[in-house]
Amino acid sequence: MTTLRYLAASASIAVLAFATSGNVAADEFPTRPLTMVIGFAAGGSTDIQGRVLANVMEEYLGQPVNVVNQPGAGSAVAFTRLKNNTDGGHTFLFGGTTALTFTPIITEVEYEIDDFEYLAAVAVGQNAIVTAAGQPFQTFDDLITHGRENPMTYAQQTPLDQAIMESVAAQEGLDLAIVPTGGGGGMAPLVLAKEVDFAYSGGTHAQYTPTGEMVVLAFLSAERSPFYPEVPTIMELGYDYSIEDYRTIIVPAGTPEAAKARLIAAAEHASRSERFIEITEGNTFFPVVFIGQEEMEANVRRIRAATEAVMAGN
């Protein structure tokens, strides 16, 4: 019964059509331990969420879920490997979608969006513009006002956030110098020591806002964060850009329907699990959601098109 209910929830006609004949097979998957690939090094927010997710999925699926870190090029290495995997859904990737919606635009990679299926998203990526407490500007509007009179510095992490900030700077007439940081770990000391005026954060700010050391000025995400309800998105502030990212369970295209259905069901189970919610929302400040396959397939393609438009503008 539960299997049928989850299959329905996945809202995929193909899955439903398969359900009557494939029920037995669905109960059989997984027949052996599963592998969850994480395209980042251990210790980051994807890794933390992934390890807890694996733990919760393991309880639901009745087989161990082993976490394997395959870091490199913002998950591009992991996606390249995953593309050629043919073990019928026993190996899946958990992580953000920027390696599909952004990376292929600026660099040559050996995979494309259609090489994968996007089964379910369980958390929404948080992309923010942050500054240090004690800077003369503590809102995005103040930042712009301040920037019109003073030369400003900004710490980027990806060419995408740099492109957006260059457009904002051009629109507002800011004199902006942009430095690379090599990631959230490199961003934090630059912001805290006020070496830069403001910076991009892909989630690292969650560690510093509770102490009051860092302030979120605006979100680059499409929606406000429930954890910073008073902070606007830059879209609301009148700049037509956003960086959307969903932490998604991804398998190679052509994975058997029965396996996909079980993985989707396990993901939905995890999205309601207290343990997963506690760590993801409480420690990494990522809102937990459940977005099924049909919507995610559309999301990935929509974000890619929007990103291409932003990058073409530069």
Partner: protein, 505 residues
């Protein structure tokens, strides 16, 4: 600091279950440290799921014990096999292996162990009593300072190399060249990756380190086996002179204290890492010595300098972690994940909100140091059995571990090919007396130097006068210039360098 809290926490740290957890971590780390190819960061990543079922305090102490164990254990293979278990013990080979070959392997192992444990305990004390309130000092070291320190480290460590100046420049230059491979940190465009996704994050560090340090050494030894069969392995005999006497240990104490200082400084600055620490310490010990010509030929101070700094980096890397929430190196970054899985956010709030937990962890770290001494001391005889195994058996086993260590990195067959290429490179460098130390350090430092230099140039908007407001950066730039001048003068005066990499026997 509330002493009651400290003592209550100490009490909790001394339960049987915590001893088992910490002891298990140290032992596991020690074994992983001994085995060339299996690296510290991989060990921690693999061990994190093991800690799911432990209490947060035991889990964190277990992982810190594991880090400490690898740093101490890696000296064993450096001394007995000339193949360091971790890149950070590469400097230990320089004197440890010659001393062992000269018939005093036990003495070398004991000096390495004592230096590790003392460096570890002193740095842990600094972490507990001095550093956390002063963690913000690390923020004084911005991009300008880091770029200057990295440039200094590059020149200073390059000065240790054997061979001619030009061979040193060639080795360092090649390291710098390979260090620039990968995605440009700002534009994200690939540089010299030739279409390989695997190279986008640069040449995998583990492949370069294991290949040039451990695997190439196995090739060298396998080749030597053909000519010196039966006459090359290190024997642990109960020779009367293979005993560490107080008189001999006493002279290494100033070196250990200096090494701890260097290791703590390097560890507290985010990014530098233990390899830079141990080589800096080795270089400073050599410069400070009245008899620098003994270095590279089995000087006890050489072992002590490298090992004390290597171990001091580990607790010191927790200074920015606990004080600011910024990880000091890769292993510390892994600990953030481990904390988070247990529902704890690392950073300055930990001291305010959960002081008991923090002090328990500190107490656990001291326990780990003591356990490390016991395991090292009594395990000495056990690990020494390695030397009874004939080289034709040891060499293939080490090669197997090197290859498996690479597979654990998740690079697949591509990683093995890169590993083999670097093993060949390391072999040729050893054969033709190019310094692989200079090569490796240049390779490790280059990406950090590039990032910090680019940040400095962009932030200063190209104006060098900003350095006048940056006295720390200016100081290290002056040191770099002095080191360059000293290097040039030395090359002109003594065609032979002071310290040779271990000579071919």
């Amino acid at each position: 600091m509330n002493l009651d809290v400290v003592f209550a926490a100490m009490g909790e740290a001394l339960t049987l279950s915590s001893f088992i957890g910490i002891g298990g971590g140290v032992f596991l780390g020690y074994v992983i440290g001994v085995i060339p190819g299996l690296s510290r960061s991989v060990a921690i990543a693999i061990a994190i799921p093991l800690t799911f079922y432990m209490t947060p305090y035991i889990a964190i102490s277990f992982l810190i014990g594991l880090s400490k164990g690898t740093a101490a254990g890696s000296a064993v293979s450096a001394i007995l096999l000339n193949a360091p278990g971790e890149a950070s013990s590469a400097a230990t080979c320089l004197d440890g292996y010659p001393m062992a070959k000269a018939g005093r392997p036990k003495t070398a192992l004991k000096i390495g162990l004592l230096a590790s444990v003392i460096g570890d305990i002193l740095a842990t004390m600094i972490l507990i009593f001095v550093a956390i309130p002063f963690a913000r000092v690390a923020l004084l070291f911005g991009p300008y300072e880091m770029a200057a320190i990295l440039a200094f480290a590059l020149v200073f460590i390059a000065g240790l190399s054997g061979g001619s100046l030009f061979k040193g420049l060639a080795a360092g230059g090649f390291g710098i060249f390979l260090g620039t491979i990968g995605l440009d940190p700002q534009t994200g465009l690939p540089r010299m990756t030739f279409g390989y996704t695997e190279l986008m994050d640069g040449m995998p560090l583990i492949a370069v380190a294991i290949g040039t340090l451990a695997l190439s050494e196995m090739f060298v030894q396998a080749e030597r086996l053909r000519t010196e069969r039966g006459n090359m392995s290190i024997k642990i005999e109960n020779r009367p002179d293979d005993v560490l006497r107080w008189r001999e240990f006493k002279i290494t104490i100033p070196t250990i204290i200096r090494g701890t200082g260097v290791g703590t400084f390097v560890g507290a600055l985010p990014g530098l890492g233990p390899s830079v620490g141990s080589f800096m310490s080795y270089g400073m010990a050599q410069r400070a010595s009245k008899t620098p010509e003994r270095f590279g030929k089995g000087a006890p101070e050489g072992i002590a300098a490298s090992e004390s700094a290597d171990n001091a980096v580990i607790p010191a890397a927790l200074i920015p972690l606990f004080g600011l929430g910024i990880p000091g190196n890769v292993s510390a970054a892994l600990l953030i994940g481990a904390f988070a899985i247990h529902g704890i956010t690392v950073g300055p709030l930990l001291l305010r909100d959960e002081p008991e937990l923090l002090y328990s962890i500190f107490a656990g770290m001291i326990v780990a140091s003591i356990v490390m001494l016991l395991i090292g001391w009594f395990g000495l005889m056990l690990f020494a059995q390695i030397t009874r195994v004939p080289p034709p058996v040891v060499i293939p086993i080490v090669i197997f571990f090197c290859l498996s260590g690479m597979m654990l990195q998740g690079y697949g067959a591509f990683g093995l090919l890169i590993l083999m290429a670097f093993a060949l490179l390391g072999y040729l460098m050893k054969k033709y007396d190019y310094s692989f130390v200079t090569f490796l350090v240049a390779f490790i430092i280059t990406p950090m130097l590039e990032l910090n230099l680019r940040q400095s140039i962009i932030l200063s908007r190209g104006d060098p006068m900003i350095l006048l407001n940056r006295p720390i950066a200016l100081f290290f730039i002056a040191c770099t210039v002095l080191a360059l001048v000293a290097l040039a003068v030395r090359t002109l005066r003594h065609p032979k360098p002071l310290a040779n990499a271990p000579e071919e026997a």
